[in-house]
Every structure is written in C-alpha cells, then in structure tokens.
Symmetry: C2
C-alpha cells in the first residue's frame, strides 16, 4: 500500500505520541483507548483517531491500542529504527549542549563530529568528540556517512556553511541559526528558531494577561 501524503502538522504531532507511548510502555501499560490517551495528552480522541488513520489506524476502535505495537510503529514511521550519524557545526554553548544530550543517541542519532572556525575551540572536546577546524567539514561528511548536520552558528555563517553541506550530499540540516536556508529539494531542513518561540510566548503573555490593553496594541 502506498503511504499517502501526510501533512507536516500531523508529522509534528507524532513525536509527542511517541513520547507518551514510551512513558506508558515504561509504566507497563499494555493497552490504551483513544479516550484515555486523549485525557492524558489533552487532545481530542477524534484528533488522535484522525491522526492515526493517516497510517492505517493502528488498531481496533473500542478495543483500544496495543501500546508497545503503537510505540514501535510510530517509531518506525519517524525513522527511529535506523541509525543517523550527525555532526554539529558550531562548538559554542548551544552546540555543546546538543552534543552532550544523551537522549539523541538512544533514538539512533549518533554524534560523530564537531566543527568550529574558532581556532581556540579546535581540539577541545565534547563527550570525547574533538572539535575540528571548519576546513575539514566537507571531507569528514563525505567519508563518514553523515546524514544530518546541526547548525549552531550565527546567522551570517549559516548560509555559506549550508551551501558547502549541500555539495557534500548531506541529507538533512537541523538549523538553529536565525535565518531561513534555501537548499535544493530532497535535502530536509528543520528549523529551531528560538527567538521566534520566545516572541510567541511574549504575544501570549500580552494577550492572556491584559486583554483590554492587548486590543489597543493590536489594532
């Protein structure tokens, strides 16, 4: 059966299902109804059923879902049954934080190399991975079967680095630089624009706490 085109909104919700199902599995829960999952995750049961129907439904209604099966299936859909090798470009605090995050390894994302243009950082290490000079990045990506490059560098450097990465045949860029990258079709980009997230929070503070004043500001 051909997999249909799934909206990015649905895809964006899959990791959260995966997280909740993983916790249920760890707690020894074997089956769960869409109603109970709905209560736990605070989304409607109909949303859950609709989301799962994109992938064939995963189980009988009324009888509930098999937690471990559902967890494994969603993991496979998310590509977590495969190993992905990644490098981090930018050895500042954010790059180091991501390099130290052991949970990525548990999900099959293996930290292979780190690069920085600052000579003072070259040779320092994160979890035994030495920071290498930027000039070595392209060769390293080509020779070490790297799938994902994590960009934790300032905006100005991100565009030329992304162009270099594209030439190496990288499959995906996880972009923390505050700029949108233009890459050819077939190369996946996922942006984490932290400022955008903070501004959204700021909007909700303004809107949630002082509706009268908020109305003035908005119009």
């Amino acid at each position: 059966m051909e997999e249909k085109e799934i909206s990015q909104a649905v895809i964006g919700r899959l990791p959260r299902y995966f997280r909740y199902l993983g916790e249920l599995k760890d707690q020894g829960v074997e089956r769960i109804s869409s109603q109970d999952l709905s209560g736990l995750m605070k989304v409607t049961a109909s949303q859950i059923r609709q989301d799962f129907n994109n992938f064939g439904g995963f189980g009988q209604q009324g009888y509930g879902y098999n937690v471990e099966y559902l967890y494994n299936e969603i993991g496979k859909i998310l590509g977590l049954d495969r190993q992905h090798n990644f490098i981090i470009v930018g050895a500042g605090n954010l790059g180091r934080a991501l390099g130290n995050y052991l949970n990525f390894e548990r999900r099959g994302f293996i930290f292979r190399g780190m690069f920085d243009c600052n000579p003072e950082l070259v040779g320092t290490d994160v979890r035994g991975i030495a920071v290498m000079p930027m000039e070595e990045m392209e060769r390293f990506v080509r020779e070490n079967n790297i799938d994902i490059a994590v960009l934790t560098i300032p905006k100005a450097g991100a565009v030329p680095v992304a162009e270099k990465l594209v030439r190496t045949g990288i499959r995906a860029i996880w972009n923390f630089a505050h700029v949108d990258l233009n890459v050819p079709e077939g190369i996946q980009v996922e942006n984490v624009h932290l400022s955008d997230s903070l501004m959204k929070l700021s909007y909700n503070i303004r809107k949630g706490q002082n509706p009268a004043e908020a109305a003035e500001g908005g119009m």
Copy 2:
C-alpha cells in the same frame, strides 16, 4: 475595536514576518507588496494577506505595505514594545547558551537571574549574572518582577519547579524540559521539545529520500 481570537498558527508565523521585515528595514526598503514579500518568504501572497487581515490588514492592497510601520505594528502585537524580565532555571550548557544570547536583550527580554541545584555551579556566572541556589528562586521571582522562567533542567525536575514557579505568580514558562507542564489557565507555556524537532527531521529524511522503503515502514 476588540481584537479577535487569533489562531496559534497565525501567531506562530508572526515572528517570521517580524524577522523579514526587520531585515528589509535594515536594508532601507520602505515599501513592499504582498507579492514581493511572498517571493522572499516563500509563502503565498494570499496567506500573507489572510494573516495580516487578522490584525486589520496593515495597509492598502496594490500600494504595498510600509515596511517600518508593519515592522513596528507586528512588534507591538508580539509584545516586543514592553520589557520582560526572565530567569533561567538550569545552568547547564543549554541554560548558558540562552543566557549568553544577546539578541533576546535587543527584543526586550532581560536576563535577571540563574538558578541551579548543583552546588558546584552556584556562584559561577553567565554574563555577570551569578548562578544562585534553587532555594532562592521563589523569593527572587517575587522580588524582582520576573515575567518569564526558562526551564533548561531535566524532565524529572521540571514538574516540581514549574509548580513552585506557579505559586510565585510567574506569567510564563519557556520550557525546554522534555515533558508537558500542567499549569493553571493564564500562565503561558511555550515548549521547545528539541527531540521532537529532531524526530520530525528524521521522518522527513525517511520520507523524502526513499519513498518505496518509506511506504513499507509506514504501513
């Protein structure tokens, strides 16, 4: 005029408009049509007009938008004309990265304090802000007019810390812990679940690069 209820999807797009308009403004561009903005941002002109109509439209069609006016108005809607004081809870790499991020200050988010339960980190500092012991957090939030708490601590600690913060009357939590927080209505939470973002990337790698195999995995 009363501001209508705006969907979080629209809100989520405002920071990106704000970013592009800021760049146009810095380049000295005075007016831009929705067509040109559309080309630049790679969203449809109709999407842009629809989004802006939520806030009264911002300008005449056909004549284009005044860049500086639009930038300022969106900034006000996002609450960026106010100052927000924030603390960071968790002085690890991620907390330090955020504390060092000067752009937040430019947007009116002022870094006021940092807390950690690890006694070895207490007394170290980030940009002149000393890390304080966790026991001092509640008093500090109450006495220093703190609006936002940034949580960069592991999952297990996040729930009790959030409960404490709620008792202090905090207005918002920017949550990097990999757990959903239950807070009373009126307290805003914005989650940055980095693993979720990485899983979405992994899905798109699987789906984008090997459709035949992807179909098998998914069904």
